[in-house]
């Protein structure tokens, strides 16, 4: 996917002014936050599971080489193929080769964020393949020619009306002449259209939520069942997954499943959790003849070496997005790449370049909500702060920002000056305010454009502190 993170400032401003987007986001946030809360409360020792998730992921990363090769051996033993790809381009080349060897024409796809990283759809379409996304949300944005705006609800920014129009525009040539406006009818129409594709596709490509090293299983979690139809009906099943998806064994899978559903959608268990172990067996009546797993690095080994290793624990549940005041106000597209929200603000700079995506970590308020909900306890705020430190050390900021920071530094490191100057400033502000607030202030336009700025108290905190201290002694 093309990187547009450098445009974060203008894109987020535009998003804030988009009323349709704001109401779509409001609706989603409420739903996600409340259902998660309920589902988490139901499992009384959920916290123990978070600790477990953190520890198991850390353990696996520490022994990543062992677990990846164990996974590889097991897949090969069950008759599958494992391919390794250093970057997206290599992954796409592998996938293209498999498709051309299979004489494929039509390819169905389950939701895969990693394939968004690699821009796999585009590479396949450029070679003349027909590619159809089958997750309803992904299908909608594919029709719209857009990219996902949420890692588990890709079309969360689309209103019902948007979908009605899109379906009318694209499905009338298939004989669906009437506009569908109710969710049931919309879903039903998608079901009918996609059913034809499921049954006529030559290759199915899916992602994986987990790779179980001990059994060589690729695990896919969905609610619609599209992943399973994509994986089971065509003659070839290709799984594309990044290397940090590996976990040790089936018992640990049970731990992660208890975390994932609750954190992502507030479900005790998602509707479909499937373990795939290789191609069709001798007596099987269905299933693919070929089973391929593409293991993609795409920057993960670099992250493993860095101060940002903790981010590799991520299980892509989306909880940090749903609880982020920045994401829930601007939506996913403003972030300019595959991953939005807190996870995106940490990951994008690491995968596309820190200077290119420098606005992302800087947009964070460091309120810490993401960290408290993260099922694998990733210290997202600390990692975002680390990005800021790196950016300052790289000298990535504009001269105005550098000058501002220098002024602040000069003042804050000289307590006497600091006291004097703040005392004077506060006194001026307190005296010039009308009825305790300002309708306008120099350098604070973005704030005062939509609300008043409250005037400070007559004296500074330090003055009050001293005064009180004196009284006591």
């Amino acid at each position: 996917m093309k990187v547009l993170s450098q445009n974060f400032k203008s894109a987020s401003k535009a998003a804030l002014l988009n009323d349709d987007l704001r109401s779509a986001l409001d609706r989603a946030e409420g739903g996600f936050v409340n259902t998660r809360k309920k589902a988490v409360a139901e499992l009384r020792n959920f916290e123990d599971y978070r600790t477990y998730g953190q520890q198991v992921k850390d353990h696996t990363l520490k022994h990543l080489g062992y677990y990846l090769t164990q996974f590889e051996n097991k897949v090969v033993k069950s008759g599958g193929h494992v391919h390794w790809a250093g970057n997206g381009e290599q992954a796409n080349k592998i996938i293209l080769d498999i498709c051309s060897a299979a004489n494929a024409r039509k390819i169905t796809k389950g939701k895969s964020m990693v394939s968004e990283e690699a821009a796999t759809n585009k590479s396949l379409q450029d070679q003349g393949y027909e590619v159809i996304e089958t997750d309803l949300g992904e299908y909608i944005i594919q029709l719209a020619g857009e990219s996902p705006s949420h890692i588990i609800a890709p079309a969360v920014h689309k209103s019902k009306q948007n979908v009605t129009d899109l379906f009318h525009q694209h499905h009338s040539r298939l004989g669906f002449l009437e506009k569908v406006t109710e969710p049931e009818d919309i879903v039903n129409q998608a079901r009918q259209v996609l059913r034809d594709h499921f049954c006529s596709a030559d290759v199915g490509i899916t992602g994986a939520n987990f790779l179980v090293a001990d059994t060589g299983s690729a695990v896919i979690v969905t609610n619609e069942g599209n992943g399973d139809l994509t994986a089971s009906l065509p003659g070839v099943h290709i799984i594309i997954a990044s290397i940090e998806k590996v976990i040790p064994d089936l018992v640990s899978l049970g731990g992660f499943l208890r975390l994932l559903g609750r954190s992502a959608t507030g479900q005790i268990m998602s509707v479909y959790t499937t373990l795939f172990n290789g191609p069709k067996r001798k007596d099987d009546l269905d299933g693919p003849d070929q089973f391929h797993v593409v293991l993609l690095d795409n920057g993960r080994t670099e992250i493993l070496k860095s101060k940002y290793q903790d981010i590799l624990r991520c299980i892509r549940c989306g909880a940090c997005l749903n609880h982020c005041p920045v994401y829930t106000n601007i939506g996913g597209h403003a972030y300019g790449w595959v991953y939005p929200g807190p996870i995106g603000s940490v990951l994008t700079p690491l995968l596309v370049g820190q200077t290119k995506a420098m606005h992302l970590p800087n947009a964070c308020t460091l309120n810490g909500r993401c960290q408290t909900v993260c099922p694998v306890k990733i210290p997202l705020p600390s990692l975002l702060r680390q990005h800021r430190v790196d950016l300052v050390q790289m000298g990535a900021h504009s001269w105005a920002q550098k000058f501002g920071l220098w002024c602040w530094y000069s003042l804050a490191s000289r307590p006497k000056w600091y006291n004097q100057i703040t005392r004077i400033l506060v006194a001026i502000l307190a005296r010039t305010a009308t009825r305790g607030r300002f309708r306008w202030l120099p350098l604070a336009r973005p704030w005062t454009a939509t609300r008043d700025f409250p005037a400070p108290a007559q004296s500074t905190f330090q003055q009050l502190w001293k005064a009180q201290h004196r009284r006591k002694t």
């Binding site: 022994h63 619609e224 005790i268 009546l285 080994t301």
Partner: protein, 214 residues
Amino acid sequence: MSAREAILLKIFEVTGSSNFGSAPDFSIKLPQPDYEFDIQSNKIESNKTDRFVAMLAQVHGTCEMLENLGDVPDSVTNYLTKVGAELRAVIATDEKLSQLDWRDMAVESRAAQKFDRTSITVAFAGIAETGTIAMVSSAQSPITLNFLPEINIVVLLESRLVATMEQFWPKIEAQPRAINFITGPSKTADIEQTLVYGAHGPRHFHVIIVKNQR
């Protein structure tokens, strides 16, 4: 250097080569799930069934309890009549089903096809904790039956009910090609967060719990 070597080499650099040969010591203990509802205790065996039924209902699945396996055809006929479906089904190529007297029903044993409306399968196990059905693929249990039809009826022997996923794993001897955990009918909330059932998979998910294998 191949991509494989390059990736493994980079991992070496960080984790050290000692990790590659022998299995690491993985001793982190999975916590026991703690619910208000006590599913672990063996004192009350029926707890498992109760929890299973309650959890299934929560996800919009339906359930019926039967004494004997022989009662399944009548129960299926009633169910299909109730939801207004044809008395026709594809059934798993499993003896337990094919030996039954299907009387009023037209049944065929095979994998599912595009326009099949109803499928009947036999669960490998049920997991009480989450109201989940576990299907294990084999020549007797084609996995398309779980996903293509609109109505999926699953026969679960009560003796195959386990409390948690941890109790389920040891029941599998050799890894099958696929294990499907199914928790309710297919659904989506992609249109303005409105929950709609029957996205791509079954719209109706009906479990028949059978006490005796007769």
